[in-house]
């Protein structure tokens, strides 16, 4: 077992949010007498992450993902509970801690807009006190993985969103952090852009053994990268474990897709519940209970003229939706 890198214990955060009714009178009244409402963003969250793990942090908007990530990175003091990352208490913001972690937020820019990213990189080199040879070596490695070189000569404002994200991520990794907190690193990117970032993170994790905790809206990010996921909903930890386990636990269903010789000529409802699959129009899909898969499959193969058959897990979106509505 690898050593524990990230440890959260009873981590909780309550915000005070000013609140008022809509309308002019309410606005004036609120100026003199402000009402606050307690919002429990994160409640009593516990987990441990080992060195080198890639963990996906899932949950709908406002579930408390970003708040948790901000507490672990040191930006927020928790209202209650403790956290330990690499042996440090994050919010003490010790320079040794800051030098060994990074936070990349997909929706925020750290690179200067008007100048090429290379110039901002050099500024980071100065801030993180990186010796020239070490900086060059890291840069070369990142260039190899992200193909940065062609992007380095253009001002950041002239880069596409995907190109800029590559540079943003590279800027966050120049100091070779041991822990990566990534908040929506693929947000707004197209499918290939997402895939490239994902591929990079997988390779980076393999090469450096860095611990990665990422949040994402795109299930594909999580399924492609993380063996373990943590689901948070209404500020509470709902699930912590493997993706396969999660599917087994809350959705003991499989999807069987079949491509038939003659389309639409056979009724599949007697084998299982038909489901739409927007990514694959060629096949017809039915949902069956996990324990019935073998029986149904052999039945299908015996009864129907089948060209192709697949058995898959249901999409993770559905799986999580089910968990949240419990």
């Amino acid at each position: 077992m690898s050593p524990i890198t990230i440890h959260a214990e009873n981590l909780s955060k309550t915000y005070q949010v000013p609140e008022r009714e809509g309308g002019f009178g309410a606005a004036v009244q609120s100026f003199f007498k402000r009402k606050y409402n307690d919002v429990k963003a994160v409640q009593q969250v516990n987990f441990e992450i080992e060195q080198g793990e890639v963990v996906g942090f899932l949950g709908p908007n406002g579930a408390g993902k970003t708040t948790t990530l901000k507490m672990l990175s040191g930006l927020l003091h928790p209202t209650e509970g403790t956290a330990n990352v690499l042996g440090f208490t994050p919010w003490e913001l010790k320079p040794e801690y800051l030098r060994s972690m990074t936070l990349v937020m997909g929706q925020r820019n750290r690179l200067s807009w008007d100048i090429p990213a290379a110039d901002s990189f050099l500024l980071n080199q100065a801030i993180y006190r990186l010796p020239d040879d070490e900086y060059k070596e890291t840069y070369k490695e990142l260039d190899e993985l992200l193909e940065l070189e062609p992007l380095m000569k253009k001002p950041v404002r002239n880069l596409s969103l995907g190109e800029r994200m590559k540079c943003e991520i590279a800027a966050g990794l120049l100091h070779r952090p041991k822990v990566l907190f990534l908040d929506e690193p693929t947000i707004g990117l197209d499918i290939t852009g997402q895939a490239r970032i994902r591929e990079f993170l997988r390779e980076y994790n393999k090469r450096t053994g860095a611990t990665i905790l990422l949040t994402s809206h795109y299930m594909a990010d999580v399924t492609a990268l993380c063996e373990r996921i943590i689901i948070i909903h209404h500020g509470q930890l709902k699930y912590d474990g493997g993706i396969a386990d999660l599917s087994r636990k809350i959705a003991p269903f499989k999807l069987i897709g079949v491509r038939l010789a003659e389309v639409d000529s056979h009724d599949l409802t007697k084998y299982g519940t038909p489901v739409q699959n927007e990514e694959d129009w060629e096949k017809q899909y039915i949902q069956v209970k996990a324990e019935d898969v073998t029986r149904v499959t052999s039945g299908l193969l015996a009864d129907l003229p089948i060209h192709d058959i697949t058995i898959t897990d249901p999409p993770i979106e559905d799986v999580i939706e089910r968990a949240f509505n419990e």
């Binding site: 930006l75 008007d114 500024l123």
Partner: protein
């Protein structure tokens, strides 16, 4: 050593940013040359018509103007652009990145932007101070000049500290874009020697709002008007205000991390 390296890195980035847009660069150079010419002209007008003000000689007035301009350059070249950046970074959340960098956040916030075109102003201010000291040279000693320099530095630190306190308030108020306007208004009071103000106002200007300390006091030192106790007191005020400012800044950061989402 590392601080210097970081400063030079910031300077380079700011030069690069200033040169990023060609037309903008050309306009800036022309504008600043014109501005410099205008400043020199107005200095000429002032000093061809005045020989003393409030009991101050021409050399001292030139030096006072130099000190005032030095402070003004600090305002225009550092404080204004960094305030703008600071306010923006609070609004768009990029302050988060600043906080997570392994360097003193107050330092990062102070030097991340520099209006490099104002380097001429810096030169002009120093020339004015040197010329002023030279003209009043027969009445001053090298010890006076030394205390003058010390108190000028201490004065700049006081104004800087005041700025840090004002921008730190943003952490509590979330939106406080008038922070520098207030500082500028206070600073304008330092344009004239504090002795031209009535006594009650002088007390406010010296002790409540220590702007006079930043501009007039160094000049009094140059004239040899200050005794050792007062010199030490003013230096102590400089050190104290810096300490208070860093405390307020730290408390502000803590507040930020407690409240922001």
């Amino acid at each position: 050593m590392h601080t210097l390296k970081l400063l030079s890195a910031f300077f380079k980035v700011n030069v690069q940013m200033a040169l990023a847009y060609r037309a903008d660069t050309v306009v800036n150079i022309l504008l600043n040359l014109m501005w410099l010419g205008w400043e020199l002209l107005s200095l000429n007008i002032i000093f061809s018509n005045t020989t003393s003000l409030g009991g101050w000689g021409i050399g001292e007035l030139i030096a006072l103007l130099g000190v005032f301009r030095l402070v003004n350059t600090m305002m225009i070249a550092l404080i204004w652009p960094n305030t703008e950046k600071f306010n923006q970074s609070i609004r768009d959340g990029s302050m988060d990145y600043t906080i997570l960098q392994p360097a003193n956040s107050m330092f990062l916030v102070t030097f991340s932007r520099m209006t490099i075109w104002r380097i001429w102003d810096l030169v002009l201010a120093i020339v004015l101070i040197v010329v002023g000291i030279n003209i009043s040279g027969d009445t001053t000693t090298s010890l006076n000049i030394l205390t003058f320099i010390l108190l000028t530095v201490s004065g700049a630190i006081i104004i800087y500290s005041l700025w840090i306190v004002l921008i730190s308030l943003t952490f509590w108020f979330t939106k406080f874009d008038n922070n520098v306007t207030i500082l500028q208004a206070l600073l304008d009071a330092g344009r004239y020697p504090a002795t031209v103000y009535p006594v009650w106002l002088r007390i406010i200007v010296t002790f409540v709002i220590p702007i006079a300390v930043a501009t007039t006091v160094p000049l009094q030192a140059l004239r040899g008007d200050l005794d050792a106790v007062r010199i030490l007191m003013f230096i102590a005020i400089g050190i104290a205000s810096f300490l208070v400012a860093s405390r307020v800044w730290k408390a502000g950061l803590k507040r930020y991390s407690g409240a922001s989402s």
